[in-house]
């Protein structure tokens, strides 16, 4: 009887673990640490990191953008971002009475020091096995190039080389068969054939 109870408990624990692991879908992300110093942007470090269930979806607004490109110079990913330079400070307790009336107002006037001139930001993107480099733009002007080729496992050179295998780089390590179907241009050609009575 005791053995049956123990076996049942083991089974339940195993089952629960299976459920937990099934729920945690793991994927890889790249983290970019970008430094900002008086308008200059630098790469403070890049890493591959494991994530569970989630990677930030791309943002479509911001003064800066980050684009990931493949070895074939295809754009794989793009997101926008900003450095948060405005700082809002909490007021001291002595400035208020218990009703929330501001009983002290500092005399100084001016534009004040609200902004930062130096900060850093982390951006996460999905991991791409064919990612070669990243370009960071400020208002459409390229300001930073980060090499990602050491993280890539498939260099898209049509040669099965380095550490590439069929599993990691099928496009270089096996034959690719492309199917051809009636293209848009063929359809347009047919359209003009129709116009000029060439059916």
């Amino acid at each position: 009887m005791r053995i049956r109870v123990i076996l049942s408990a083991v089974f339940i624990v195993m089952f629960a673990l299976t459920l937990v692991s099934a729920n945690e879908e793991k994927s890889l992300a790249i983290s970019f640490k970008l430094g900002y110093d008086h308008g200059s942007v630098t790469n403070l470090g890049t890493n591959i990191i494991e994530t569970q269930n989630y990677i930030n979806t791309p943002v479509n607004q911001g003064n800066y953008s980050l684009k990931i490109f493949s070895f074939l110079n295809e754009e794989l990913y793009q997101t926008y971002f900003d450095f948060d330079l405005q700082i809002l400070s909490v007021p001291p307790k002595e400035w208020f009475d218990d009703e929330g009336n501001q009983i002290y107002i500092p005399n100084e006037t001016g534009t004040g020091k609200l902004g930062l001139e130096k900060t850093a930001k982390v951006i996460f993107t999905p991991y791409f096995k064919t990612a070669k480099y990243v370009l960071v733009y400020k208002d459409s002007k390229e300001i930073l190039n980060i090499n990602l080729s050491s993280y890539a496992v498939c260099n898209q050179n049509k040669v099965c080389d380095n550490q590439e295998t069929k599993d990691t780089c099928s496009e270089d390590c096996s034959t690719i068969v492309k199917s051809h179907s009636s293209s848009f241009w063929q359809k347009i050609m047919n359209f003009f054939k129709g116009i000029f009575g060439m059916n």
Partner: protein
């Protein structure tokens, strides 16, 4: 003139592009509108191409009457051309017969289109006494797939639900080609008739079983059931074992060791086929690896080896001579089929010395006549070279990282721990709390639980205040300790945070927590004037215990709620912004006029950071978090708008 021509051309093209159909006039008419079941009806089909430019290409006409259909190849109908056809229809069931015609053709941009037309006629019951109206086919069996010339079992169950004894004819087959059997059914009687029938009509046809009343030598259709079938010639692939090729002499396999194998299959049949197979052996001491085989299309008369080049046989030296392997093949010709073939394998009776690397497996080299396995730790063998991976185990990676064995790269491990788990991060607002100067997770967790009211506390915290209180399920909270987070020396609680913090350190910790949307850094000991921007930096030691949780609320009002400060500090300039601080009463009225009078909402002067600007309430957490206990209606509404983006 040229512009006018282009304009007219566009005017002609654009409507055509929008609707790429051809302008067709498609009509169906019958020569009679009211008939008896055995009358002949002529259906006239007329299709006129009224399009000024385009041809309706590869047209196919299908006429459906009830479940019956007739298909005709029409071909191309050019501009101005008319296609006409007379179709003779016969044998109808009494009632309304609806006709539907579908003309399927290729239009202007190579897309297929269907033009449909309708018609109908009435079929009267014959004026015959004791006409058996209630006889029908209650069940039937006809083949789904038909090969011409082949026999099939068919059956039909006929039931007489009427009160008239019925002499009947039961037919199986096409409209014009069938076998029949006469039966008689008394009222209430049911009979099942089975026949073995050969069908010969090629192409798409309607295969039916029909029952007729036989009255005075004439037959009247009472009921029919049928299905659309495609009848074709049965064409078979005929597969046999052809030969074996190995990487050893005489296409044998080694007495002891691994050999590569190619198994050739020949097709002597009438049709090409793809094949999948599995190679097995009953012999002891013989191991087959990669035994699942795939053969691409083997044409008639062709012999092909399997596509994969990794089929291997490993022998242990105890087998020699000839042994038989079994190859089970699955393929499709006219039908899905399986076949089992015998594959004779010849094993060397002595160990043959190799002469070159190619006589050995891909993972071996030939050394002094002996195939020797290439040693390759932490990598794989390609072209008989050992290719080393960057990493294969965690110990090869730096601290706090591990080896991902899919890409063989060291990856950073997630460094944050969940404190509040409300579900998948994709739908939630994920806060990361960086515990600056905390060396112990127990202490950090306890502090977070107090600040956020995640455990009973006498102090007001994040989830003790609306609208966060009612939306706790929209938040996940993560934590990471940062014992080495540096602050600059000599600061006190009046030092502006920008002068107390060594900026950029948050990024080191935030980069370990990919799920985080918002970062809050709480400092255990460092003294400075807390602040917020993209994140927030909270000096807990500069706040009384009663105010620490409300400090987080004030700063989250900035970083999460995008709210302005509601106090005055002229040295910071005049900076009205956000949903809670504007420069004129008119703007204030536009933003929160509809809430004025509700829970203290009005137009109060003093915010961000001059007395000239207007705020919505006398006090709030965005003004003096020390005395306020709520954000106030206007700020709550603004935060709720943001919370609406989370589930």
């Amino acid at each position: 003139m040229k512009k006018l021509f282009i304009f007219l051309l566009l005017l002609a093209i654009v409507p055509s592009l929008v609707s790429a159909t051809v302008n067709l006039d498609f009509r169906l008419d019958t020569n009679k509108k009211v008939v008896y079941p055995n009358d002949n009806v002529i259906l006239n089909v007329t299709i006129v191409n009224r399009d000024a430019t385009f041809t309706a290409k590869d047209s196919v006409l299908t006429i459906n009457i009830g479940s019956r259909f007739y298909t005709f190849e029409v071909g191309d109908i050019k501009t101005g051309e008319t296609f006409s056809k007379e179709i003779s229809l016969k044998q109808f069931l009494p009632g309304t017969q609806n006709i539907k015609g579908d003309l399927n053709y290729t239009g202007i941009l190579d897309e297929r289109f269907i033009e449909t037309s309708y018609g109908s006629f009435e079929v009267l019951f014959p004026a015959i006494q004791r006409y058996p109206r209630n006889v029908y086919i209650s069940d039937y069996s006809l083949p789904d797939k038909v090969f011409s010339g082949k026999n099939y079992d068919v059956s039909a169950t006929v039931k007489n639900d009427g009160d008239v004894k019925a002499d009947l004819i039961l037919e199986f087959g096409y409209i014009d080609e069938y076998v029949s059997e006469n039966i008689t059914l008394n009222p209430g009687e049911t009979k099942t008739i089975k026949r073995n029938v050969k069908f010969n009509n090629p192409g798409v046809s309607l295969l039916e079983t029909r029952v007729y009343a036989l009255i005075n030598g004439d037959k009247y259709l009472l009921n029919y059931q049928g299905k659309k079938t495609y009848t074709q010639e049965e064409r078979l692939a005929k597969l046999s074992f052809d030969k074996i090729e190995t990487n050893q002499n005489d296409n044998k396999v080694q007495l002891k060791g691994k050999s590569k194998l190619k198994v050739y299959i020949k097709n002597d049949g009438e049709i090409a086929t793809n094949i999948t197979g599995i190679l097995t052996s009953n012999s002891e001491g013989l191991i087959i690896t990669n035994s699942n085989l795939f053969y691409s299309l083997i044409n008639r008369g062709e012999s092909l080896a399997q596509q994969e080049d990794n089929l291997e046989i490993e022998t242990n030296g105890k087998n020699s001579g000839s042994i038989d392997l079994s190859l089970s093949l699955t393929y499709m010709d006219s039908d899905n089929r399986q076949i089992k073939l015998t594959v004779p394998l010849n094993i060397n009776d002595k160990i043959e010395p190799c002469k070159e690397d190619n006589a050995c497996m891909d993972t071996q080299t030939c050394n002094n006549g002996v195939c020797t396995e290439i040693t390759c730790e932490d990598g794989f063998i390609r072209d008989r070279q050992c290719i080393k991976y960057d990493c294969v185990r965690d110990s090869q990676c730096p601290e706090a990282s591990k080896c991902d064995t899919n890409i063989h790269r060291c990856i950073e491990q997630t460094g944050c721990i969940k404190v509040l788990d409300s579900g998948n991060s994709e739908d939630k607002a994920d806060f990361l709390i960086i515990g600056a100067e905390y060396g112990d997770y127990t202490e950090l967790k306890s502090t977070i639980e107090t600040l956020f009211n995640l455990k009973p506390s006498k102090y007001l915290g994040f989830f003790g205040v609306e609208p966060f209180k009612s939306n706790k399920n929209k938040f996940n909270i993560w934590m990471i300790k940062a014992p080495d987070y540096n602050t600059l020396p000599g600061t006190d609680c009046s030092t502006m945070c920008g002068e107390a913090i060594d900026w950029g350190q948050d990024a080191n910790y935030a980069s370990k927590c990919p799920n985080a949307d918002f970062v809050i850094t709480i400092f255990k000991d460092a003294k400075f004037r807390s602040c917020a921007g993209g994140g927030q930096w909270d000096s807990l030691t500069c706040q009384a215990d009663t105010d620490k949780g409300k400090l987080i609320l004030h700063e989250s009002g900035h970083s999460f709620g995008r709210l302005a400060d509601e106090y005055v500090e002229p040295s910071l300039g005049d900076r009205p912004w956000g949903p809670n601080c504007v420069s004129t009463q008119q703007e204030a009225s536009n933003l929160w006029g509809n809430l004025v009078g509700n829970n203290g909402v009005g137009y109060f002067q003093g915010c961000s950071y001059t007395d000239d600007n207007f705020r919505p309430t006398k006090n709030s957490l965005m003004r003096s978090h020390y005395s306020a206990t709520s954000f106030g209606p206007v700020n709550e509404k603004a935060i709720l708008n943001i919370l609406g983006g989370y589930k």
